[in-house]
Symmetry: C2
Subunit: 333 residues, 2 copies
């Protein structure tokens, strides 16, 4: 059995992050990580007639560029694992439609990047695949339309709300080659402490992030010391809550805990309230900034813990609370 | 590498279908397979205040009964893999919320049962898990509301339409014990031949079913002869189209091809037009009828090829066609 501790899987063979590709919208391009992204589009519709088609294009171009840059043929990719926030994950399936690569659709809300990378690592380590592409995306305008209100309404956003990242990140995992390696994977449990405010996703996801991080740290205690632990999109409110939950359990990660939702924007100058969010948030921050740090060995051990809120507008209108989940992958340069 | 041929993964160690549990609504209980189901509810709301909550209850009770009947503790289940048709797969995540089992959310539309069983088989064969529960559900009333029109409208259904099954099927896969064994898995490619009629899902999914079945038959040619090939929910129209596509390629499966959507209802007497559909369709037919046939060794080798249509109402309103996918698992008694 390749399970260590209660909930973590050990990756014993080489699972290499061979390359990544990130595309973001103009707002993300103007943020503090602007120089790290592979492509910045200057208009978030990208010439398409609907926001949904724009988001598909983001994901499709991320995968196409990843394949092209690595001079591989689509037939050499054993599987593509992807998912996104939209109903029936249409950004992912329509983006993958022309690729002719076996497709596994995933739903983990904003935890998707870590979930796909975790699953792909197990499939490669298990000897089932040589190359897998993991990809996800989000788009501010598709997410607002689906989860909140029509953009045209110009509704006021509460200060606890987060700004959905427009962007797509794609990762090529391989059983050979050079690059950072995935060392362990923790799939999270669903945690719901009763938050029902759909404008405070950070608070809804924070307990799940704390739970998965804690479990990974316990399970891998004798194996690795992480230099950084990065959550997906807790934002400033969620990050604080997750740190407090962990502190109560005598786990202090405060100093080495970063959050993709806080890294991608200049929170005050860019007026994004609690920070960035969306599947694309952790995907593009990982595929650009963190991949570069790991590749250049400026960061030795990273725990990448993306977080997702698993609600739907329908179910929240029926009075339900918001369950959160977090999946984590341990990566060494 | 455990891949055989182009697209199929060989399961070399024991991946046993240890047990299953199926719950269906009254209409399904009155159908030809009525005697095979573990539980038939007599009112499809099942005492809940919304159809969405009823569907969650179906899935939750299927899992709870599966765990109880097998006298295992939830902690002995390494992972739960589930998904459904609803936006953000809320039936699955809310059903799994109280289970405290690491959760992997999947989206494969009506192909979900085969997709989760396929993924779980790889994870068990790879040495990552001892026990995995795969589960999915659908509900006529949630699906109508989300994909088509409010039930209260009483809209006329075209003859090509299918009836979404109210039900949930859960499967316990294990690396030990007695029972039918999963021998191979083929993950499908997305196939879109341009069908845009949302009332003819069978036609949209048929080319994907044909593609995955063909690929599995080619990849496993020297290993296994299937006594039956069962598709998920093509219905009478889709089944005919998929058989015709395969016949053009000189593959004749007509005699041994069954379809869960045609087995679950008495198509004429129960007024379901082209047959049953929904994630729950293949899930409950497999978890009851086929599991029993395999367990009692009345069926030696089965190819279970569930099929899904990967569209959303939003994207179809924007003029898009409907991509299909099919995932297949080869099972021996």
């Amino acid at each position: 059995m390749k399970k260590i501790g209660k909930q973590t899987f050990l990756i014993s063979s080489d699972v290499v992050i061979k390359d990544t590709f990130s595309i973001v919208g103009p707002k993300e391009g103007e943020g503090p990580l602007g120089n790290y992204f592979d492509m910045i589009i200057d208009d978030s519709s990208w010439g398409e007639k609907s926001w949904e088609k724009s988001e598909q294009k983001l994901q499709k171009k991320a995968v196409e560029n990843l394949i092209k840059n690595n001079k591989i043929e689509p037939q050499e990719i054993d599987l593509i694992l992807s998912g996104d926030l939209l109903n029936q994950i249409v950004s992912s399936s329509y983006a993958a439609r022309d690729l002719s690569i076996p497709f596994i659709g995933i739903y983990g809300a904003c935890s998707t990047m870590a979930l796909t990378m975790g699953l792909a690592s197990l499939l490669i380590d298990g000897g089932f695949a040589s190359n897998i592409i993991c990809v996800t995306s989000s788009h501010f305008c598709t997410a607002e339309r689906q989860y909140r209100a029509p953009l045209e309404m110009g509704g006021q956003r509460p200060l606890s709300s987060q700004w959905t990242v427009t962007g797509s990140g794609a990762v090529l995992l391989s059983n050979h080659g050079n690059g950072p390696k995935i060392k362990n994977v923790t799939f999270g449990k669903i945690i719901d402490l009763g938050v029902s405010d759909v404008n405070n996703m950070g608070a809804a996801m924070a307990p799940a992030a704390a739970d998965t991080i804690k479990q990974n740290l316990i399970d891998t205690m004798n194996l690795v010391e992480y230099n950084e632990i990065v959550t997906g999109d807790l934002g400033s409110i969620g990050k604080k809550i997750s740190d407090e939950i962990l502190q109560k359990e005598k786990i202090n990660i405060d100093q080495r805990h970063k959050d993709c939702g806080m890294l991608i924007y200049d929170i005050e100058k860019q007026d994004v309230h609690a920070g960035g969010s969306g599947c694309g948030c952790s995907a593009v921050v990982f595929s650009s900034y963190y991949y570069k740090l790991l590749k250049e060995k400026k960061l030795r051990n990273l725990l990448f813990a993306a977080t997702g809120a698993l609600h739907s507008p329908t179910i929240c209108q029926q009075g339900e609370t918001i369950p959160g989940i977090s999946h984590a992958v341990g990566i060494s340069s």
